[in-house]
Subunit: 209 residues, 2 copies
DNA sequence: ACAAAAAAATGACCGTGGGTCACTTGGTGA
DNA sequence: TCACCAAGTGACCCACGGTCATTTTTTTGT
């Protein structure tokens, strides 16, 4: 009988429902002001139970980041697997995709930006940390694949370094918006969306064959 | 008699020496693990006294960020004021300047990346928050000025939008390195330095007249 | 020179919240 | 029916951010 398997499934479900609860609480109160008791109550569990699934508040936060990466990766995979668009067209759509993600999941997008603090407070050997590393790697792989497609179909300059450019773009995505927030709102003439688009335009101009 | 003035100067000095202490403590222990008692001891003051100068631990952290911005701005001002280099040359040197800053002041560079959390927990009306906004604005002003210089001396395409590109670059700087850190070290073939340089090369290629 | 007043600094104290652990609950298999 | 064990509980511990009545130091007025 599949008791062990069922238990494993249930454990996975519990874990997911805790992350659901944590998202609602963290996103509405912010990391510092949210308490583990809040999360426990929202998840209809005791505080102690949370610690059966996650080692710390920080790790729970990283689990949310892992989800964010997963959502984005799934969006990107669809673009990647399209077989009508050319490489450079896909590359151009990455800009739109990033913007759409940030608009559709603003809280998840935010989770990219505060991950460092949390990450530093989690054991590097943990399952969650490894998961985020994995997703991150896959995302960079998708971007660089798209660039390589462009090189293959001659829509992108063959001398472009796909891996390096992929990292640059990804870094840019996780940094460009916060900069504009630090910038005083009232004096910000351009919204992040325009800035990202413009940046991509320039890059496209630089890399097109 | 200048008693009031002297007091003001002394107050400023105390404030600076508290930030000195906070830097040593925060940089060595990390924000979460550092305590206000640690900072007080390092600053040779009581905990209560810290709160005469800063409203909260978060605000103290923002004061460090303000310093980081100031250091970077000073480096950039020198480049900006140079009157031999052409606009595009200055633009190209920005990449080196960013990298040099991140290498010379790695901890200060890090402070850029976790500012969101702290910022959200400070009253927006505070002196420190306003100070960081101010510095940030000046930095963007310097970058866009450099681009404008390039347009004036015809080394940069006149159709480039200086303000937008400035924001894009600044965002990139505050995002590109953390991305590479999230990326699993062992499988990272390029270091952040290479990535920044390459990204700039492409941009230069796109914007040169 | 001295005391009253003001400013600066102190540190005991408070409340909160992350994290723990001895104990309870409830499903499972013999 | 009962022994077992994983799952879950919540009272408890204690570290730490922040406060404030009190003390110490400096300034001001005479």
């Amino acid at each position: 009988m599949g008791v062990v398997e069922r238990k494993e499934r249930e454990k996975e479900l519990r874990s997911e429902s805790i992350i659901d609860a944590a998202e609602r609480i963290f996103f509405s109160k912010g990391f510092e002001h949210a308490t583990m008791n809040d999360v426990a109550e929202e998840a209809e569990l005791s505080k102690g139970a949370l610690y059966l699934y996650f080692h710390s508040k920080n790790e729970l936060c990283m689990a949310i980041l892992q989800r964010s990466l997963l959502i984005l990766k799934n969006k990107m995979t669809i673009l990647h697997d399209d077989n009508i668009l050319t490489g450079i067209e896909k590359f151009a759509r990455l800009a739109r995709l990033f913007i759409a993600f940030a608009k559709e999941y603003p809280n998840h997008y935010n989770s990219f930006l505060s991950y460092r603090e949390h990450r530093g407070n989690c054991p590097a050997t943990g399952k969650v940390i490894k998961g985020t590393n994995e997703e991150n790697k896959k995302i960079n792989r998708i971007i660089s694949d798209i660039i390589r497609m462009g090189k293959a179909d001659k829509t992108i300059n063959k001398d472009i370094d796909a891996d390096k450019l992929s990292l640059a773009l990804w870094g840019n995505f996780t940094g460009i918006m916060p900069s504009s927030i630090l910038h005083d709102r009232s004096s910000l003439d351009y919204n992040p969306e325009e800035v990202i688009k413009y940046h991509f335009e320039l890059l496209i101009n630089a890399i097109k064959a």
